[in-house]
């Protein structure tokens, strides 16, 4: 029994240390010396990069805050034809990685692209007469990222609005607050924690983004890190810049946590009723439908349609073996990442359930912060120890021979697992929260070991949520770009890497092939997730009705 406890503890510490290794290696590199590349960069471009990153993040935050909040409000407070469809459809842009949107829109709006061509030929406007020249600018990047990331805000705000009881608005009405002001003066202040959480996610994704800004020619920190690593070959300098970005991310996270703690007090009084939706007819309903369909059209339908068109035009690339190899590679990586995160995430969720506080809990929470850290930064953090290990292995153990870790996909799998652990862990924790502790005690009384408890009792009870988590992690692993780009062994391309590579070379036709494969996978997974959520909601309702 004691041995079992010891093993569990040791395993916890070991896994935490392992998962915290990337962060530790980056923070350590801040103390090392690098070549002069960072200095050179600091003198020439770093200032511009900082300003650009700041402006980009700010713009995307504003865009997604407005779009996400408004759509969430419309979908919760009004009733119009197609509302149920839009409630789910507004999440669709999440299925498309932002660099695919960037790919499509830069091509469409380029001077030789379809839009400007149409304006020139059919409308007779000269070049530059319609106010913009190209979408490849900061404004264009803000537009694309905002369109791709607003669903985070939408989702969290929608949840928040749904939890706001009717009584609040009834009281407001009696106090003379007009319906028009309900969003601004009641719902929004109440929903602040959700808004901040959503915006924190958007901020972290914007800082982390690499593919979009590269394709659109916007030079942010992630581009700088990549330039230092690939262009100037200075891994330590890249690590240092990554470290600076990491500190910024920590600051954002800390800010978000502290505001959430302050606003924790609950505002519902036990009994909650859904407020009545305002029913819309006629012109108003039509406007609402148009307004709700725009984000879906621009963020999902149009890009997929354009990709389909390019894909159908492009005959040669479909007969190539490369995209299919990339498909296989994407699936392998995603499967491995799901396995690792499922095992570790489930284990951590189980441990967190058993021990509420203490060092272990703190470490496990820290280790699951990977989602906040940019993929580029994680990649650098994984690469440095991996190369060091390989050198040590070659020198002291194997005495010659090839590179062990750097030549394999372990780096990519680890980096992705680190980034997506939180997804799985959250699902595990939330699901286990519904399992009464009494069940654990009973099982232990009957002589079950920890392992038996974990796999024989808990796992079957939360299998739906684990499956849901697995789908989410799978989809994210397929879409992942920067870490895969940096850590993959030679000749190992995933769909994301192929699409990005070809797109940044302007080969849109060829790029559409891996892009379409990617989108098909993520949309399929989105449908699976949607039905899984519906299933778990109905089972939860059934359980409540029974209780």
């Amino acid at each position: 029994m004691l041995l079992c406890v010891f093993i569990m503890r040791a395993l916890t510490y070991f896994l935490c240390a392992f998962f915290l290794l990337p962060v530790a290696s980056i923070l350590w590199s801040l103390t090392r010396r690098d070549g002069d590349s960072l200095m050179l960069l600091a003198q020439t471009q770093l200032g511009d990069m900082a300003v650009t990153t700041f402006l980009l993040v700010g713009g995307v935050l504003a865009f997604s805050a407005v779009l996400g909040t408004l759509t969430a409000w419309w979908v919760t407070r009004f009733d119009f034809a197609g509302r149920r469809f839009f409630t789910a459809a507004l999440l669709l842009p999440l299925a498309l990685p932002p660099y695919l949107l960037a790919m499509v829109y830069t091509q469409l709006f380029s001077p030789s692209g379809a839009v400007q061509h149409f304006m020139r030929e059919s409308l007779g406007l000269a070049y530059g007469a319609f106010g913009f020249h190209d979408l490849r600018s900061l404004g264009g990047a803000i537009f694309v990222l905002g369109l791709s990331l607003y669903p985070y805000v939408y989702l969290l705000m929608r949840q928040s609005f749904q939890l706001q009881s009717a009584q609040l608005f009834d009281v407001a009405a009696t106090l003379g607050v007009h319906r028009r002001h309900w969003l601004g003066r009641i719902a929004l202040p109440l929903g602040r924690p959700a808004l901040i959480a959503g915006l924190a996610l958007v901020a972290m994704e914007s800082i982390a983004d690499f593919g979009t800004v590269q394709i659109m020619g916007v030079r942010t920190f992630s581009v700088g890190i990549y330039q230092l690593w690939a262009g100037m070959g200075d891994a330590v300098a890249a690590s240092k810049l990554a470290g600076m970005v990491l500190l910024v991310v920590f600051a954002v996270l800390a800010l978000e946590r502290s505001t959430r703690r302050r606003l924790r007090h609950s505002l519902t009084s036990g009994h909650m009723t859904q407020p009545q939706r305002e029913s819309l007819r006629g012109i108003k309903a039509a406007w609402m439908m148009i307004a709700c369909s725009l984000p879906v059209l621009l963020g999902c339908v149009l890009p997929v349609a354009v990709l389909l068109q390019w894909g159908l035009q492009e005959q040669q690339a479909w007969h190539d073996t490369i995209p299919y190899r990339a498909l296989g590679n994407s699936l392998i990586i995603a499967a491995l990442v799901v396995m690792v995160t499922a095992l570790v995430g489930f284990f951590f969720a189980h441990r967190l359930r058993a021990a509420r506080n203490g060092l272990q809990c703190w470490l496990m929470r820290l280790a699951s912060f990977g989602y906040a850290i940019p993929g580029m930064v994680v990649a650098v953090g994984v690469m440095v120890p991996m190369v060091a290990f390989d050198r040590w292995w070659k020198a002291d153990i194997a005495h010659g021979g090839g590179l062990l870790l750097s030549g394999s996909i372990i780096g990519v799998v680890l980096a992705c697992s680190f980034r997506f652990l939180a997804l799985m862990q959250q699902q595990g924790e939330a699901a286990l929260a519904h399992v009464p502790h009494g069940l654990d005690d009973t099982a232990r009384l009957l002589g079950a070991s920890e392992r038996r408890l974990m796999f024989g009792v808990h796992f079957p009870l939360i299998s739906w949520q684990v499956l849901l988590g697995a789908c989410l992690v799978f989809a994210d692993a397929i879409k992942e770009l920067p870490a895969t780009l940096m850590l993959r062994p030679f000749n190992f391309d995933t769909l994301a890497v192929r699409a990005y590579d070809l797109a940044s070379d302007g080969q849109m036709g060829a790029a559409s092939v891996p892009a379409l494969m990617l989108v098909t996978l993520t949309l399929l997974l989105a449908m699976v997730v949607h039905s899984l959520q519906r299933h778990s909601e109905t089972t939860a309702m059934k359980q409540e009705n029974r209780a």
């Binding site: 380029s110 030789s112 690939a230 070959g233 491995l336 062994p489 030679f490």
Partner: protein
Amino acid sequence: MKRFIFTLLVLLGALAFAVPGFAAEEKSINVYSSQKEYLARPMFEAFTKQTAIKVNLLSGKNDELLARMEQEGEDSPADLLMVADVANLVKADEKDLLQPISSDILNERVPEYLRSEQGTWYGLAMHARAIFYVKGKVDPSHIKTYDDLTKPEWKGRVLARSSLHTYNQSLLGSIIAHKGEEKALAWAKGVAANLARPAQGDDWENLLDAASGAGDVVLSNTYYYGVISNATDDPRKPELAKKLGVIFPNQDSTGAHVNVRGGGVAKYAKHAKEAQQLLEFLASDEGQKLFGQLNYQYPVVPGVKPEEFVATHLGDFKPDTMPLERVGELNAKAAAIFAQTDWK
């Protein structure tokens, strides 16, 4: 349960390690190439047919390949490195990634100014950095040299890619080699003042944009013109390409600045002999033809006819015979000079 987990972990480990490492087989060489796979494969397949030596092709961007080889050091599986632009070849040389070889075939067929003095790298396909103009808007007789781009009549009409790219840096390098740093700085400033928009995009994007009205004159490598004229993914590209004409600068003086795509045998190559064989094949008549075919580049070997589109639409020109090695060595200086201008 235990057995299940155990097998799972074993599978995991096996899978992760088993994936594409490098099997150094008999009769096969590993080539690190920055050329697109579908462009490089036909040449290598022809080589395999002739010699029965298999080619394992690894594609990547120029600087990524160099950084990778540096990191791998002695363990690098690369036998042959093939990159674009002499600056990258010289960089590879300076980083000690290549080994000198002595090949009579290569020394005979590749002109001296297109290969390194030590025999560490050889240029195998050539292109010029030419000036393209929009027909009807520009009188080609008004631009005869690179210097003409700085004339005030071209203000707001020139399109060029970023000065951070090696193609522009090599052009500036050749100007430094011919005329010195001061004149080079003046030239760069002059062109920057005439740009229609901040330097951006790829050469072929600037070509298409010019044809769409964004500018009148474009600095671009010749092969991009071939690529867009024969593009199949978008019918608009060949249409727009037809609106452009080509000017080879400096024909009455030093000749148009040229650059190469080439390669060298890796320093720690395990199959150096076979790698040399591949280089010699690429310098043969058949190799030169294949190299130029999908690429719209000129052959380096004098006497070999260029590809059909290149011959008819671009034609012959007088190249600048300044040794390219010198141009490559001036890369850092060129970058430093560009940093002093508004050419971003």
